[in-house]
Structure formats: structure tokens, C-alpha cells
């Protein structure tokens, strides 16, 4: 064991491997920053380059790029209200208001530190739990996954900013949009209006760009000025970034809890990052002493999803390496890449290639730490985007969003779809309907429908009668009831 660890980690110190990792990290950050390009796209682009690499080089290159691409996505979420992927969608709820208040540096510092440490946490958990992952994975079948998704959906109230009925309406609208395309069980297309492009539904990145990015840029163009509404421009971004990093250490309890959430949810095949970040965000709001400031630039709302976001990669790798069962779509592609370089993940993998497992863990941890460091350096310059005047910034961002939408499926159709949906995004913004609630409904609606359908087909209407399901239901009810209970107790004390 010790010998494998020394060999597996020692390989990462070879100059050739370091070079591949640095290449992976740089490209991963660039892809992460471009809206619409996800970890799946990154792996698809990277894999052909690994065809002629050795095992260690290929692993280091792929892991490095994949580990950091979600880190890059948080920067655009905070600065421009553009979540690169669904995994960054919870970060913008508090991250972007912080940018508007001139605290972009702090938000980025907190996000990147939480990402780096979350990645480190996920990596360490991966190393420690690989041999005992089976019970975690086996505990989550369709019913349990359904209730996990419902738990994510229950945090709509956390996004209401005082107007619950509007938040619920937005979420229902999001659910409706998630039903566009093939029905999960029957493969019959719904709400497609005869367009074959809509058979696969609306892509998450297209929706994110339409709902968040374009309305924000339209608003910026109409009101003029810059994203940062603060009178005093950010003069010392480095100090702000360090301050943000310190906030993560100050909220270490929240960081640990959200990293645990990210790791566990990441390890459940099929549920993945989109759920984990919202569960972490909802948990942060539920347990915070300043829950009323969530959505208005509370730094805890940035730390929570970013910790979960990067910790989930370690979690996702757990079933992939230990059981040969990919934890997400990206992990399925990664599994294919492992097979190409001659690695067969599964129970025997740990017996035959324990050193490679440590190489993967080491590459994951190093890339998360180094990637966050590089992002911090880039951010000191990128923060100034928030002070660029609208007439210069908005056209560039609109072009980038169009490119992002196009890259989703190499189709102009997605660009038009994004433009049409941005009218909805604009309307939601102007009428003060919660856009994060809409997005939450949209990204979780498909998963909820799928797991509900499988559960009912398999177990009938008593599908919720499993210990794990009942526990999750209990936690969900507790989470939803906690705030009204707090208000009630507060009122009673005042009387």
C-alpha cells in the first residue's frame, strides 16, 4: 500500500507529467471560463490527444483539465452572472450581487479557495474511501435519488427573497421547460412543436445563458454604467481575494459540511453536480445565522456551492474507480478514456493498479490547488471587467454567449433558442420573479421525473418506504419547516 502510494504520487513529480498537468490545467481553465463549454466537452476534446500517451501522462492530463474546468466557471458566474455550467448555477445567486456591490474580489477569493479546498477534501475522501464505497453507492437507488432531487427542489423557498408565491411560480415554469423533449420512459417527444432539435430538450447551458446572461447584459445596456454599482472602484483586488479566502477558513464548519454533501451526492450515479450545489446552498441558508441576507451577496452563499462543486469530483470518481460505474456523464467519458489507455476500472483495478489510483488522487488534488491559484492570479485582472462600461462590455459578452450556445450542439438552432428564451429571462427579471428558482426547477425537473417514473414502475406507490428515503424526506421537511419555525419562535419571544 505505502509502496503504491509513493510510486503513484512520485510519478507526478516527473517533469514530463508536470508539463502535461500544467497544459491540462491551463486548457481546463480556459474551457471553464467560456460559457457553454462543460467538463464533458473538455474531456471530448482532450481524449483524442491521449491516444498516443502513456498511462500516467494521459491520466495526469485528463484529470488536471477536468478538475479545474468547474473552477473557471465560477469566475464568470460571479463577475457576469453567467454560470458556465449547471454546477456553477448556485454560485451566482450571491456571487453576482457581491460583484454589483464592488466585492467581486472577495467573492472570487472565497469561491476559488472553497473550490481548491473542496477539491482537496474530495481527493482525500477518494483516497480513504475507495475500498468502502460500495455501501454508499448501493444505498441510493431510484427512490432515494428521487427524494434527493426533491430535497434540492425544496430549496426554492431559499431563493424566494421574500416572495414565495413568485418563487414557486418560477420554479413551476422551470419544471415545465424541463419537460420539453423525449419523455424519460416512453421516448415520446413533448412540447417540441415538430422541431427535431427540441427532441433532446433544452440544453442546460442554453437555458443558463438565456435566463441569466442576456437579461443582465440587456439591463446593463439600458441603464449604462458598469456591472459594479459601487462608487469606489476595486483598487486592491489581491487584498480582496485574500480576504475572501480567509472567509472560507472563518466558515470552516460550513465548508466541511458542504464538502461532505458534495462528495456524497457526487458518488450517487446519475444525480451529480447540479443537485449537490443546490443541496449545499440550501443547507447553508438553512443553518446560517444571517439567512435573510442570502441572495443579496452573502459570502456563505458562495462558499457552500463551490465547496460542494469541487468536492463532488472526488465523490464522482469513487464509484467510477472502485466499481467501474461512472458517477456522471463526464465520468462515463472518463471511463472510456481509461479503457483506451489500458486501465480497466472496477474492483480488480485497486488490487492490480493501486499506484494508478494514487496518481489520479494526486493529480486531482494538485490540479485543484494549482488551478485555483492560477485563477486567482487571472482574477486580479478579470475583476476589472465589472468596471468596464456597458457599451464596450455588453456586445462582447453577447457574442461570447452566442458562441457558447452554438458550441452546445454545433447548431445555430441553440443560438435562436437562447434568444427566444432570453425574452422569458428578461420578463422574469423585470417582474421580479426569481430566476434562480426557474433554473432550479429546470435543471432538477428532468431528474425528478425520471427517478419518480422508475420508482413507481418498480415499487408501486409505496416506493418511499425505504430507510434512506425516509431519512431524506425527514431532512427535507425539517429544512423547509426550519425557517417558519424560527420566525414563529422569534415572534413568541417578542410577545
Amino acid at each position: 500500500m505505502l509502496e503504491s502510494m509513493v510510486h503513484g504520487l512520485g510519478v507526478l513529480l516527473e517533469p514530463g507529467i508536470i508539463l502535461y498537468m500544467l497544459m491540462g490545467i491551463m486548457l481546463g481553465i480556459v474551457i471553464g471560463i467560456i460559457p457553454g463549454l462543460t467538463g464533458i466537452v473538455l474531456l471530448s476534446i482532450f481524449i483524442p490527444f491521449t491516444w498516443n500517451m502513456g498511462q500516467y501522462q494521459a491520466l495526469a492530463f485528463l484529470m488536471a483539465g477536468y478538475a479545474v474546468c468547474y473552477t473557471g466557471g465560477s469566475i464568470t458566474a460571479i463577475l457576469l452572472n453567467i454560470p458556465g455550467t449547471g454546477a456553477n448555477s448556485a454560485t451566482l445567486v450571491d456571487g453576482f450581487p457581491m460583484s454589483q456591490q464592488g466585492k467581486a474580489g472577495q467573492a472570487i477569493g472565497a469561491a476559488l479557495t472553497a473550490s481548491a479546498l473542496g477539491g482537496l477534501f474530495g481527493g482525500l475522501v477518494l483516497a480513504a474511501f475507495i475500498p468502502i464505497v460500495r455501501p454508499i453507492v448501493m444505498a441510493f437507488g431510484a427512490p432515494e435519488s428521487f427524494f434527493l432531487v426533491v430535497m434540492g427542489l425544496s430549496f426554492i423557498s431559499a431563493l424566494s427573497h421574500g416572495n414565495r408565491s413568485k418563487a414557486v411560480f418560477s420554479a413551476l415554469l422551470g419544471l415545465l421547460f424541463s419537460f420539453v423533449g423525449y419523455h424519460a420512459s416512453t421516448a415520446f417527444p413533448r412540447y417540441s412543436f415538430g422541431f427535431t432539435y427540441l427532441f433532446d430538450g433544452i440544453k442546460i447551458s442554453t437555458c443558463a445563458l438565456a435566463i441569466f446572461a442576456i437579461p443582465e447584459m440587456m439591463d446593463l445596456m439600458l441603464r449604462g454604467g458598469s456591472i459594479s454599482k459601487s462608487e469606489s472602484p476595486t483598487t486592491a483586488p489581491v487584498r480582496d481575494i485574500i480576504q475572501g479566502g480567509k472567509e472560507v477558513l472563518r466558515h470552516w464548519g460550513l465548508f466541511i459540511r458542504c464538502s461532505v454533501i458534495g462528495t456524497i451526492v457526487g458518488a450517487v450515479p446519475g444525480v451529480g453536480s447540479d443537485v449537490s450545489v443546490w443541496v449545499a446552498y440550501g443547507h447553508a441558508k438553512t443553518t446560517s445565522k444571517r439567512s435573510e441576507t442570502f441572495g443579496q451577496g452573502n459570502i456563505e452563499g458562495v462558499i457552500a456551492p463551490e465547496s460542494a462543486n469541487n468536492a463532488k469530483e472526488g465523490g464522482g470518481l469513487l464509484p467510477t474507480l472502485a466499481l467501474g460505474i461512472p458517477g456522471s456523464a463526464a465520468m462515463a467519458i472518463l471511463l472510456g478514456a481509461f479503457l483506451i489507455v489500458g486501465i480497466q476500472p472496477g474492483p480488480r483495478f485497486l488490487v492490480e493498479h493501486l499506484d494508478l489510483a494514487f496518481t489520479i488522487v494526486g493529480a486531482l488534488i494538485f490540479s485543484n490547488l494549482f488551478g485555483a491559484f492560477v485563477c486567482m492570479i487571472i482574477s486580479t485582472k478579470l475583476i476589472k471587467i465589472t468596471q468596464i462600461r456597458a457599451q464596450f462590455l455588453a456586445p462582447v459578452i453577447l457574442c461570447v454567449t452566442a458562441l457558447g450556445a452554438y458550441c452546445t450542439r454545433n447548431s445555430v438552432f441553440d443560438v435562436f433558442l437562447m434568444l427566444i428564451m432570453s425574452v422569458l429571462g428578461w420578463a422574469l427579471r423585470e417582474l421580479n420573479y426569481s430566476r434562480p428558482s426557474f433554473f432550479l426547477g429546470f435543471i432538477l425537473g428532468g431528474l425528478a421525473e425520471r427517478y419518480y417514473s422508475i420508482s413507481v414502475q418498480t415499487y408501486g406507490w409505496t416506493f418511499f418506504l425505504t430507510p434512506v428515503s425516509i431519512t431524506i424526506i425527514g431532512l427535507t421537511v425539517f429544512g423547509v419547516a426550519l425557517e417558519p419555525m424560527r420566525v414563529y419562535i422569534k415572534k413568541k419571544k417578542m410577545l
Binding site: I40, V41, L43, S44, I45, I47, P48, W51, V137, M138, F140, G141, A142, Y182, A184, S185, T186, A187, F188, P189, S192, G194, T196, Y197, F199, D200, P269, G270, P319, L323, G324, I325, P326, G327, A329, A332, I333, G336, L339, I340, Q344, G346, P347, R348, R409, N410, S411, R450, S453, I454, Q457, T458
Partner: protein, 343 residues
Amino acid sequence: MRDKLFMKIMCISFLAVVFAGSNSNLFGAESHSAFYKGKVIHFVVGFSPGGGYDTWTRLLASAMEKQLDATVVVKNMPGAGGLIGLNYMSNRAKRDGTAMMISPLGGAQLSQLLDSPGVKYDCRKFNWLIRLTWEPQVVMVSKKSSFKSIEDLKKEDKLIATGPEPTSRAPLATVFAAEAIGLDNLKVVFGYPGSAEQIVAIMRGQAHFYSPSVGTSLRHMDELRPILVIANERVSALPNVPAVTEYQLRPEGKKLFDRIMPLWEVGRSVITTPDVPPDRVKFLREILVKCIDDKEFLKKAQRLKLSPKVLTGDKVENMVMDMMTMPADELKKIKHVVYEKYQ
């Protein structure tokens, strides 16, 4: 004298015609080589980058560039299980042999047969150039279960299998094997997005079995046990696992099984657009065989864990034509099995 001269001219003309005729292939091949030289060929992939179709296409593209001295551009057009790519090939791609695509495994034919929404092509009009590979599905049960054979599955009161949706490969193979063997206790639960969720479902006892391809099944032998190959004969990778035809089959079920099996045997086949001149189609078929016989291609394919199982284009075309001319009563039975009986 004049007659002799006339005869000589006639003889020379005759010999010239015979020579030209006997070498028409050569001249034809030369003219087609000239047609493709320097041209841009669009190779459509009906799925996202990174998957099996994409890998096969990119591998084939580099071999074709070498053989044709042309530029092959890979164009990913993902969506609707390859339907967007097929519709593009039928209606918008150039009909001169410069657009190609690997047809989705059985999906192209099946979607058309079952009148699936969005089908705007006719499989019979595509030109089928070559089959690259194919593999059957395998019934996999948990190693922890007591199931060792199909007989054990028959004893279960309510047998549950998993699958993505009714018209995808694995559940299709499952229901037609069940129809032939007589697994009337089977219910297929649909909606599983991929292999991972199905494997977890089987390992935790949520379902009894699923039917991945042979390649996928080999990766999960530590946890799962193969008990049936859904094909007419055993496969070399799983020599101890019986094929469907080794069981006593119900005549009606066997008839439907035989009707539907070519869907798998057509496998991953390369198509080009309708209306390409027949001699150019013939030329492309020859070129593709050469591509796959190329040592460099085979070396790369081995590294990528891709194993070609070639079938010539004319044979693939015959299989497709045969399948697409299905009598109405058989089609009705097939729809009943796919959409109703096992749900």
C-alpha cells in the same frame, strides 16, 4: 484492298472496345479517384464527441484521407438518437458521395418502421457502404442472485429488467428474446439513463437483469454474471454463455426474433446520401474495405479497443431492404411487443 483496310479498322475498333470494356473498372476507379482528390468530405456523427460513433468516425476519417487524398471533416450533429444526422443526410447533404455517416445501430431502420416522430428519411434510399462492426446484447444478472440460467429467471413471479426507453437496443433485444423463449413474467422498467444506473439497480436488487452489449458486459464481470447471448449463436468473448437459439423457442416468438435480429447485425454501418451514382457507390465500398484492411488503421483500432467485423455494403443493403419490407401483420405484432406486452 479497301475491304482489307475496312476489316483491319473493324478489328482494331473491336479490340479497343473489348480492352476498354475489360478495364472499365480501372478507368472508372481512376475517374472516381480524380473526383475525390482534393475534395472535402463531410463525415456526419449523429452523436456528441467522445463516444463510440465519434471515435469510429475519426479513425475512419484519417484512413479515408490517406486512401482518397481528400480532406475529411468530421461534423458532430448530435440529437434525438441520431435522427438529426439522418434527416440531414437525407434532405440537406450533397448527393454526390461527399457526405457520409455511421448509421445509429438499428435505430435508423427501427424509427422508420415504428413511425417514430421526426423521421424524415427513408432507409431504403440511403446507399449502404460497409458494416464496420456489430455486437449482440447479453443478459446480465447480479452475481449475488441465485439466477444461473434462463430457467431460473422463468421461476421468478415478477421478473424486472431495466432499459432506457422502449425503442433503444438493450430493452428491444430483451423483449424479443423474452418473446421467443417464453419469459411471460417479464416487466421492463424504462427510464434508466445509462449503464451505471442499471448496474446499481441490479446490484442492489431493484431489478433482476439488464442487457448491455458484449463489450460493456465484459467490463462488469466482477459484479454481474452473463447468462444469455441474445443472438443466433454464441460469441467468442463469452464461449460458455448460451445463445437464444439453443433454447426451445416458441414458433411465433422465434419468427419475430428472426425478423428483428438483423437490426443488430446491420450494426454500425457507413451510409452515404441517396442518388449517388452507382459506380461511385461501388468505388466507395472498395475504398472503405481498403481503409479497414490498412495496417495502421487496425493498429489504431486495437489501441482504441475497437474490433472491426466487416460486412460488405451490398450485403448490408440487402439486409436493410429485407427488414424494411415487413408485412403489416408482423409489424403490428412487433409494435405490440415493443410498446405494450412487457410494460
